[in-house]
Amino acid sequence: MRSESGTQYWSPYAAGAAIGLTLLATIVILGSGLGASGAIARTVAAAFHAIAPEAAESHAYFKTYFAEGRSPLQDWMVYQLGGVFLGGLVGALTAGRWRPGLEKGPNAARAHRLLLAFAGGTLTGLAARLARGCTSGQALTGGAMLSLGSWAFMFSVFAGGYLAAWFVRRQWS
């Protein structure tokens, strides 16, 4: 497998099996799986609460994050995303892949790539709330648990990606 710098990537099957075992251990020990977007939503809820506590606690959507009567940041998903970040950092450093910069096609402008990254993130942030999870919480975790909605979600993600790929191809050209 090619890697732009640093050591080689693992075989996708080896990495996949290791991720599968990690997911299995998480479910068997803690009773729930892996996820990422939930922590972002909780961070947004906490920021909302810091600015306008009453509005946050009575907000039609965000109020669910205050139902337990404590900070939305006191949650497994938040600790887990912290772990993902640190694990990614240690992984990149130990592989010699930590390098400030951005990825884009040789002919694409930096602003073009950054604008698409921001717009894609915005759309994903909204979509993940709609779907109640992202690729980690729905596709991976729910997929392994055979949740019907998670499988429908997973196929929809691939469909959306292939439908839109042509329109945003120039960032890699």
Binding site: T26, M77, G101, F118, T122, G125, A144, S156
Partner: protein
């Protein structure tokens, strides 16, 4: 000992926070090793250049799914203690389509963008900032979006329950479909070297997965009255009538022992948890 450990009260929440941090650390490290801190590698699947996303994801799903089905099948794991994401079919199809578009635009999904940002990638930081804005927009527009958000609520439904099929059989089919997808993306014209009787790691993996899938299907079929994944011991009488019009009736191709377990257990607690645990 009963699994899952935490819901059975084996340890407190503080230990749970520490453990989930460690599992997150492993997850992030492994995503990095798979090359998923790179937007280019992640999106290459949408341009037919690199199948790593498909291979990593389906291997992970198959491994974890086999583990769950075997542990539940032999009775060591109580699936009632596991938070299975609830199904809201319409919202998840619409959300999935939008998330796929956001994925190919932005180059990441939420988890991998954390790994990208940790690897020093500025585009991943922009994507993460977008996630925050998008989440805020969802909250701001919740009044408008709520009908979609609630479109197709079905409660906790698994694929085997929906099909009225045996969970072991469904698991076995998923393993075989994943293997077929791997084979299709590995195929090169004239690339079937080395000789068929040489054992390579990939061939050994295929043999192990096929055996496990076969044993799973047979094992579940033999004890087809036993709990299917996610189907708890909820007595049929305790089920609220208004779960969903799509709730499967308990007619099963797996034989006359089609059981009350195939109807849906409804746990409000689980709904709440699942909606926040992603």
């Amino acid at each position: 000992m009963s699994l899952p450990l935490y819901p059975s009260g084996a340890f407190g929440e503080g230990v749970g926070f520490l453990l989930i941090f460690l599992f997150g650390f492993l997850f992030g490290f492994l995503l990095e090793r798979a090359g998923f801190g790179s937007a280019r590698k992640l999106t290459d699947i949408f341009y037919f250049r690199d199948w790593a996303v498909l291979r990593v994801m389906f291997t992970a799903i198959v491994v974890a799914m086999l583990g769950l089905l075997y542990l539940a099948g032999v009775g060591w794991l109580d699936m009632d203690g596991v938070s299975i994401p609830a199904t809201v079919l319409g919202a998840q199809v619409v959300g999935g389509l939008l998330l796929g578009i956001g994925f190919v635009m932005g180059g990441y999904c939420p988890g991998t963008s954390a790994v990208g940002a940790a690897s020093g990638k500025l585009d991943a930081v922009f994507y993460l900032a977008g996630l925050v804005v998008g989440t805020g927009l969802f909250g701001a527009g919740f009044g408008l979006l709520e009908p979609i958000y609630r479109w197709g609520e079905m409660g906790t439904v698994t694929v085997p329950q929906w099909l009225g099929a045996n969970a072991g059989l469904v698991g076995a089919v998923i393993v075989l479909v994943a293997l077929a997808a791997f084979l299709a993306t590995e195929y090169r014209p004239g690339g079937l070297s080395p000789a068929w009787n040489v054992v390579t790691p990939k061939r050994a993996g295929v043999a192990v997965l096929v055996s496990l899938a076969f044993a799973l299907a047979v094992g579940y079929a033999m004890r087809s009255g036993a709990p299917v994944v996610a189907a708890g011991a909820a007595p049929a009488a305790a089920q609220p009538a208004a779960v969903s019009p799509l709730q499967p009736t308990a007619t099963s191709p797996s034989g006359p022992v089609a059981s009350p377990q195939r109807t849906l257990p409804v746990e409000v607690k689980r709904f709440k948890k699942a909606s926040s645990c992603s």
